[in-house]
């Protein structure tokens, strides 16, 4: 991703933070506001970052993943169920139960990745359609099993939902997290930390390793990759399954790290925003992360403006309407799509099925 795009993102985030700081300055010390905005931004960005990385993994190898939303939702559910089952039925202590939940969530994501790969690679199904199928399926299945497993006398827990084992604990950076006011920024939960680590790791894998070179080759020109002995289908399968697993981790964030409960449809379209973040980030890990932070900052902006609604002059009061400021991420994405902030270039073969004996 070009520097212009990063600069644009930095300016947007800067403006959002500045506005809130100015508005709230009379009530709360600026540093507190900035630290709080940063914390919100990071929290909101976590599932978006993971979703976007899932997209990067899949699409760099040439498979469009429109099913991130469904993968996250299904993983949020299965991980949550797994953690409760481990703690309530199997009697594990909270932390191991949560970790079991995370593993199950990641496995669920990977399994849906496998389904996407099977549809897209083996059956050459239109990939956008395949993603849509996964989304619909995830909504139906989580709703169905949520009912089956948790509700009514015949369910696994006999109608009484046992207590969830809580959420993943915070991990602090020893010295930094003790600093007053800004300290909490350095105290994060494991999935949030993993998201940032995965950004770097994904970058490393895609751009510095043999596998990454091959995966990108497959995403750019699968036939060329095939002619040097690369197994296109295998590369795509592996990448899509990894992508699914990452989306699964993003799903785990909702029920194992953020709040210990599952709700039907609780991902609330964040999978689609992830996809927008990935495009915004020009299919690069760091770019996607930066874009996820923009979306996070936009949400922090919206929450904070409502908090300081008394400080907003009446003529600007429409800004308090969360339905107005809530539009910021969507409008930014639309703006991006019109090409005014530079063009994005997807991998050349992104979304195109590859047939071994086909012509192109």
């Amino acid at each position: 991703m070009g520097y212009r795009r990063y600069a644009f993102i930095a300016v947007v985030v800067g403006v959002l933070v500045l506005v809130v700081t100015l508005v709230g300055a009379s009530q709360v010390p600026p540093l507190t506001i900035v630290a709080s905005m940063a914390a919100t931004t990071l929290a909101v960005a976590t599932p978006l970052t993971l979703g976007a990385l899932s997209g990067v993994f899949c699409e760099r190898s040439g498979v469009v993943n429109l099913g991130i939303e469904g993968m996250m939702l299904a993983a949020a559910f299965s991980g949550w169920f797994g953690s409760i089952y481990a703690s309530a039925i199997l009697g594990f202590p909270p932390l191991p139960s949560l970790l079991i939940g995370v593993v199950i969530a990641v496995a669920t994501g990977a399994a849906l990745g496998l389904l996407l790969a099977a549809l897209a690679v083996t059956f050459s199904v239109d990939q956008i359609l395949a993603g849509t199928v996964i989304n619909l399926l995830a909504v139906g299945l989580t709703g169905f099993f949520n009912r089956q497993l948790f509700f009514g006398s015949g369910s696994v827990f006999g109608g009484q939902v046992p207590h969830a084992p809580g959420v993943l604990p915070r991990l602090g950076v020893p010295l930094l997290s003790d600093i007053p006011v800004v300290g909490p920024v350095f105290e994060q939960q494991p999935i949030a930390v993993a998201a940032v680590a995965l950004v770097a790791l994904t970058h490393l894998v895609l751009f510095r390793t043999r596998w990454g070179l091959r995966a990108r080759a497959v995403g750019e020109h699968p036939r060329a990759a095939a002619t040097v002995g690369i197994d296109v289908a295998r590369v795509r399968y592996v990448n899509v399954v990894i992508g699914g697993a990452i989306a699964g981790l993003g799903g785990a964030y909702f029920t194992l790290e953020s709040v210990p409960s599952f709700e039907p449809l609780m991902t609330n379209g964040r999978g689609f925003i992830s996809l927008a973040a990935m495009i915004f980030g020009d299919w690069t890990p760091f770019g996607s992360w930066a874009a996820a932070l923009v979306f996070g900052a936009a949400q922090a902006f919206q929450i904070n403006l409502q908090l300081f609604r008394d400080q907003i002059p009446p003529s600007w009061s429409f800004l308090q309407q969360s339905s107005v400021v809530g539009l910021v991420p969507y409008l930014l994405t639309l703006l991006l799509l019109t090409g005014v902030i530079g063009k994005t270039t997807p991998p050349a073969a992104d979304g195109l099925p590859y047939e071994r004996e086909g012509r192109r």
């Binding site: 699409e59 469009v64 429109l66 549809l119 059956f123 050459s124 199904v125 239109d126 990939q127 956008i128 359609l129 395949a130 849509t132 199928v133 619909l136 399926l137 909504v139 139906g140 299945l141 709703g143 169905f144 009912r147 089956q148 015949g154 379209g269 689609f272 996809l275 927008a276 495009i279 309407q321 339905s323 107005v324 809530g326 539009l327 969507y330 409008l331 994405t333 639309l334 991006l336 799509l337 019109t338 090409g339 063009k343 997807p346 050349a348 073969a349 992104d350 979304g351 195109l352």
Partner: protein
């Protein structure tokens, strides 16, 4: 004489052949759905029988099913038409909501604006037209973005869905909220009597919107095959490059296709308001856009197929209530079955393998990657 008959029969079979795989897909999905119903402690046969009874068991049931079918046909048509033009319109949801919103406006505020009531012969068409227009304009935006910068319509329509839903929420909570003192809901006032589409048969909810939707499907089918504009849409959809080289203004066609597509979704919303709810109430249209995608794909983007698929979905949705009443099976089963139908229609190689149907699969190519 006999030869002629045989030839007729053969041609009929040939014409029915495209229905074979979708039928098998539906069947397979129902079988799997039946397994889930059994898991949920229900009796699949009883459940499906209940569904059929609920959807088609009485004149009233049929009427209700067709009430469901009306927006499904139009929204499905919206998605189908766009797909014919090589565009994947995920934005039917937002377009429909805005169509409903402007119909609600036209039904209530327009007469005030022009000072006095309007005759129904004028008011109804104007209401529907404004709904279609709103949906069309909203859909033209992603068309323009695509034509201008190649920004993919899948992302832009998803974003515009959010924008539309937020805007509707804002308006129904604010400027367009029913000012009636007793009103506690986010909804517009009732539209005037003159703006309401009448019922088709007295005592039933089935309304003239249904034949209108069928007419629209017929019209789209005809226009796509028989008009120069339809030719342009198809050509730009099949091969935008070749179309451009042949002198078709592809950008304009893309925008026009999206606008037309959106206007059908908008019309669907307007009809719901004008014929059924008589007002726009927050959240009445949730999920139609996504059902519409499934319907269009199940109908293989043919207008006729879309109508059939819409009817199938209506039967499921409308019959679900009775199914649940009789067997207490979670309604989510319906969503799962619909997803499975879509899955099998998309991956028809799978269905071919299961039932050993021979022949080449015509691949459903909808999108050409993000690049457009």
């Amino acid at each position: 004489m006999r030869e002629k008959l045989i030839r007729r029969l053969e041609s009929l079979l040939r014409r029915l052949r495209p229905l074979l795989l979708p039928a098998l897909s539906v069947f397979t999905a129902m079988v799997l759905g039946g397994v889930l119903i059994a898991v949920a402690g229900g009796n699949p046969l009883e459940a499906y029988a209940g569904m059929l009874e609920g959807a088609l068991g009485s004149p009233r049931a049929v009427s209700e099913t067709l009430v469901w079918a009306t927006p499904y046909i139009l929204a499905g048509l919206s998605v189908s038409l766009a797909l014919k033009g090589g565009l994947f319109n995920i934005g039917a949801e937002g377009q429909l909501a805005l169509g409903a919103l402007s119909a609600a406006w036209a039904g209530h505020w327009l007469p005030q604006l022009v000072g006095g009531g309007l005759p129904a012969a004028l008011h109804v068409p104007v209401t529907l037209l404004l709904g279609a227009l709103a949906g069309g304009l909203w859909a033209a935006v992603p068309g323009w973005i695509k034509a201008r910068a190649g920004g993919h319509e899948v992302i832009s329509t998803i974003m515009l869905n959010y924008v539309a839903l937020n805007a509707v929420s804002f308006l129904l909570n604010g400027p367009m909220k029913d000012p009636e003192a007793s009103n506690v809901l986010s909804r517009t006032p009732l539209i005037d009597e003159s703006a309401r589409i009448p019922a088709l048969v007295d005592g039933f909810r089935l309304h003239w919107g249904f034949p209108l939707a069928l007419l629209a499907a017929a019209l789209v089918g005809w226009a796509l095959r028989r008009t120069t504009f339809g030719f342009e849409i198809r050509t730009a959809g099949q091969s935008p490059d070749a179309a451009r080289y042949a002198g078709v203004r592809v950008s304009r066609t893309v925008i026009a296709t999206m606008a037309l597509s959106g206007s059908f979704a908008g019309l669907a919303g307007a009809i719901e308001v004008s014929a059924l709810h008589h007002r726009h109430e927050l959240g009445f249209s949730q999920g139609y856009g996504f059902d519409a995608i499934a319907i269009a794909l199940l109908g293989k983007t043919h207008p006729g197929g879309t109508v059939l698929a819409a009817l199938l979905f209506s039967v499921m949705r409308s019959g679900a209530t009775r199914m649940q009443y009789l067997t207490q099976v979670p309604i989510d089963v319906i969503s799962i079955i619909q997803a499975l139908i879509l899955l099998f229609v998309a991956a028809d190689a799978l269905v071919r393998r299961i039932y050993r149907v021979r022949g080449e699969g015509e691949r459903l190519v909808l999108t050409r990657g993000w690049g457009g």
